[in-house]
């Protein structure tokens, strides 16, 4: 049977996109990529800017900061400082991908392979996503969240809701569970439970403070005995969760808004932990799939001549001294590591890359798979910047002695908890001023930024009573205190 070229011109049509999708789907299946069903939407540049500003969500509640993002992206785009992404993909079931109308047919094909089969299979199979996100219910949840916040705006006024959202956004990164698994909920259930929660939560909070206030005498005795009862018993890393459940004076709707922000933060948490892997995986597959299309003579040389520069551009890694250097390119690094896994695994390469994709996140992926070859190819080296030293020191380079060190350093660099200060809820003063104490355990003596005071003010707004942030040293004694 003579194979027919999929496309001979660079103009895309709906029909051609469909044909490409069909072939790419066939090849993806051949390589055992397990994906959610796809939903591809062609959008224009303005819609892409919209999508940017709602943080890549098909819908989101309204907030001025998204407007700012939009203005920013629009300005950059209009002045030609930055192009638009070719695509945007949403971790949902069916998997939603936005393709930009300005893309040529080649780009559309690459993007379909990249997003609709690469990212899609990652979303479906990586353990973090399986653990923390619910692709089938996210869209429903966003609809619920948007409507709920809209109704709050109607009831309590836009400015009150906005103030609350500002505060929640400040603490968003501290609104994720790292170890517990929330149950998936559909929109109806969510609504139902939200009502119940409202009533229950308020009663709980009332109880907490009522009891503590009633027994004044006993309280005093306890205080005198300096028997400080700890609440929470263990430090809590999910600050927003703690506030939602325990802040004394919040209205039920405010608790629900906190919950919404928390949920969305949780949804993005795996993406923040797997950025490099995810992009590397998608890039690896678009490259492999397009190669296969070419091997099967479904695309011609002309197609490849357009594809190769595009691909090269995606995995471009400028050297550290280049003016355009903006950190390690996650596409380049991820692509290199996955390609390296493939080359070193022989015939079983499909199983090998699949295993890596399923069971790791950026940090562990690097620790496991960053081979000397990749380190050599990228000539990676690490530099220690110690405030106490007058100069920077090169700590490791791409040699026998350095491989391990570079690997460890890079793995740490991708460790989210190393990039965010470790701050946890430590104690609530239940008997005195009801103040909330947080504790910061510094990592490598790194101080907190000047933002800290402002965040604490926000936190105080939620807590309604004094908020304190203690910095403790390795021995556990407090070295400094911020208060708001």
């Amino acid at each position: 049977m003579k194979k027919k070229l999929l496309s001979t011109t660079s103009e895309w049509t709906m029909d051609r996109i469909q044909r490409f999708d069909r072939e790419i789907a066939r090849i993806a299946k051949l390589y055992q990529l397990d994906t959610y069903p796809n939903r591809i939407e062609i959008i224009n540049s303005e819609q892409m800017l919209d999508a940017y500003s709602s943080v890549g969500m098909p819908m989101n509640y309204h907030h001025w900061s998204f407007g700012k993002k939009f203005l920013d992206a629009e300005k950059e785009y209009r002045r030609g400082y930055s192009g638009l992404a070719y695509e945007m993909v949403i971790n949902s079931d069916p998997c939603l991908s936005y393709l930009l109308e300005e893309n040529s047919m080649v780009t559309q094909a690459v993007v379909i392979a990249h997003a609709c089969y690469g990212h899609n299979s990652f979303f479906k199979n990586n353990y973090l996503f399986q653990l923390w996100t619910h692709a089938e219910s996210i869209i429903d949840y966003l609809v619920f969240a948007k409507h709920y916040i809209q109704s709050c705006e109607e009831k309590y006024g836009v400015s009150k809701v906005e103030e609350l959202l500002d505060v929640c956004h400040a603490l968003m990164n501290y609104g994720v569970d790292r170890y517990r698994r929330p149950a998936p909920l559909s929109m109806e259930k969510e609504k139902e439970q939200q009502k119940e929660r409202e009533a229950y939560l308020q009663s709980q909070v009332n109880e907490l403070w009522r009891v503590t206030l009633r027994d004044k005498a006993r309280k005093k005795a306890e205080q005198n005995a300096e028997h400080m009862l700890h609440f929470p018993e263990e430090p809590q890393e999910n600050i927003l969760y703690f506030i939602e459940k325990n802040a004394p004076l919040l209205e039920p709707w405010q608790r629900e808004v906190i919950r919404i922000v928390r949920k969305i933060a949780q949804y993005f948490y795996p993406q923040r932990q797997t950025k490099m892997m995810n992009e590397g995986w998608a890039t690896f597959w678009h490259y492999t799939i397009i190669q296969k299309l070419y091997d099967e003579k479904l695309v011609n040389d002309q197609f490849m001549m357009e594809f190769l520069p595009l691909h090269t551009n995606v995995i471009l890694q400028p050297p550290f001294s280049h003016p355009g250097y903006a950190g390690l390119n996650p596409y380049a690094l991820g692509f290199k590591i996955f390609s390296d896994i493939k080359e070193s695994s022989g015939d079983k390469w499909i199983e090998a890359v699949d295993f890596a994709m399923r069971n790791y996140k950026d940090e562990s992926f690097i620790a496991q798979y960053l081979s000397p070859k990749v380190i050599r190819d990228l000539r990676l080296f690490s530099i220690i910047d110690d405030e106490a030293q007058p100069e920077l020191v090169v700590s490791a380079i791409h040699n026998e002695e350095g491989y391990q060190k570079v690997r460890e350093a890079l793995s740490r660099q991708y460790n989210l908890s190393q990039n965010e200060p470790d701050i946890q809820v430590y104690n609530v003063n239940q008997r005195g001023d009801r103040s909330l104490t947080l504790r910061y355990i510094p990592n490598n003596n790194r101080p907190l930024s000047e933002d800290t005071e402002a965040v604490l003010k926000h936190l105080r707004f939620l807590w309604s009573f004094p908020v304190r942030l203690e910095t403790v040293d390795a021995s556990g004694s407090v070295v400094s205190v911020h208060e708001a």
């Binding site: 939407e41 062609i42 400040a170 003016p323 990676l380 690490s382 700590s395 660099q413 200060p421």
Partner: protein, 424 residues
């Protein structure tokens, strides 16, 4: 199975709400920028968007993060010639990027400040907001149309001067031919018969047949001559219809008292007033000229900058400005192509004996040739005789509007007069 959807033509402007939230949140900054822009801009430039810069500290969305300091280890790609334990000088603050470029140009935005362009609409909305313009009116800055006479065929009735002689005569001729047709054919036959009879019997003139025929012939000739040469039904008149035509050019006269009592604040108010009129005109006309006339005891045509920013002292004779305006109209804008608008701002001071004269000039000369004349009296202590004189003008001329204005919000009612007239 993959679903492919073309969504390019739906879901437009999803971010509009967020954008407007952003603008309303930073309204105080943005309004300041707009107010500054208004005082800086020339009237004709008012319609552009405006660049607004918001300082980073007001925009910040603080989060817990690391500050500078401590120990950090970072991995970089493409080592060139470093080996382990090499020591490198710490790069200067700002990592040596683009040093010096910021210092020379004070206009550049601070690295963290947020700058963006306010669109023309957003700018004007903020401008209008100050002026307390109802939404409807903003939209209604509607077309004022003038009409030009256009020939549209002919009609049967009309005034004699528009009589079309050629058409009328042609009609008359046609009618005469038509009405005399049967008579003329009969006449021809009679002539033929008479000729025959005469040939057969030239001598015999008493032949009764001949007498009959001659009688009949005379009758026919009479009948034919009785047909009128021209009849009222023949008359055709040129049909002229007035076709509405958007007028393309206008001239706006800005008259302002610049005597000592007009301080900066009042001039600022006057400027807003002139801007509003200008904007109103831009909705209607493609080309607008602005004539600035300032006056104290004498009037002078000046450029915009001098108009708003130079100071004079002394008494006030308003009529000088009105006369100068009339003179300029006669010299430059008399043809019907020009739509003329007048706007006068003053604090109401005038030399007593001059006010009646002002009213006279307005009523007799200016008002007949302008579309609209608006007078605003800015923060007067008490109305003086100029106001009273103008009240007379207002009574006589419908397209004259006058108001006292204490602040910018009161400027708009002056225009409402005009719109009310349009909508009724």
């Amino acid at each position: 199975m993959t679903q492919i959807i073309d969504r390019r033509f739906s879901d437009k402007n999803k971010s509009a709400v967020n954008r407007s939230r952003f603008i309303s949140r930073f309204k105080s900054h943005i309004k300041k920028a707009v107010a500054e822009a208004i005082s800086k801009r020339s009237i004709t430039e008012i319609e552009k968007g405006e660049k607004v810069i918001i300082p980073a500290k007001d925009l910040s969305q603080p989060i817990f993060r690391y500050g500078i300091g401590g120990i950090r280890e970072t991995v970089y790609p493409y080592n060139q010639d470093f080996v382990k334990n090499d020591r490198i000088k710490r790069p200067l603050e700002g990592s040596g990027k683009s040093q010096g470029s910021g210092a020379s140009n004070t206009d550049t935005i601070g690295s963290d400040d947020f700058g963006f362009e306010l669109s023309r609409e957003e700018f004007l909305n903020l401008f209008f907001e100050d002026l307390a313009l109802p939404d409807l009116i903003k939209k209604q800055f509607s077309q004022i149309q003038t009409s030009t006479p256009v020939r549209a065929g002919f009609k049967k009735y009309g005034a004699l001067p528009s009589l079309n002689i050629l058409r009328s005569l042609r009609n008359a001729l046609g009618r005469r031919i038509a009405f005399s047709m049967s008579e003329k054919t009969e006449l021809e036959e009679i002539e033929k018969k008479l000729k025959q009879l005469n040939m057969l019997n030239p001598e015999n003139s008493d032949n009764p047949e001949i007498i009959n025929l001659l009688e009949r012939k005379n009758k026919l000739i009479q009948k034919i001559s009785a047909i009128p040469f021209i009849d009222t039904t023949d008359l055709r008149f040129r049909n002229i219809v007035l076709q509405p035509k958007p007028s393309t050019q206008a001239v706006m006269f800005c008259l302002m008292d610049v005597s000592g009592s007009m301080d900066e604040a009042r001039k600022e108010l006057a400027k807003r007033f002139f801007i509003l009129l200008y904007l109103f005109l831009t909705k209607t006309y493609q080309k607008i000229e602005i004539v600035f006339i300032r006056h104290h005891t004498t009037a002078k045509e000046v450029d915009e900058h001098e108009f708003f920013y130079s100071r004079e002292t002394g008494g006030t004779v308003v009529s000088t400005a009105l006369e100068l305006m009339m003179k300029i109209i006669r010299e430059r804008y008399l043809s019907s192509d020009w739509n003329i608008y007048g706007a006068e701002a003053s604090d109401g001071d005038n030399w007593n004996a001059d006010s009646p004269h002002c009213a006279e000039v307005l009523i007799q000369e200016i008002m007949p040739c302008v579309q609209y004349f608006a007078y605003v009296e800015i923060s007067p202590q008490a109305h003086q005789n100029l106001w009273e004189a103008y009240v007379e003008v207002e009574k006589k001329c419908k397209h004259f509007a006058m108001r006292t204005v204490e602040n910018t919000a009161e400027i708009y009612p002056v225009f409402r007069e005009l719109f009310r007239k349009k909508t009724s």
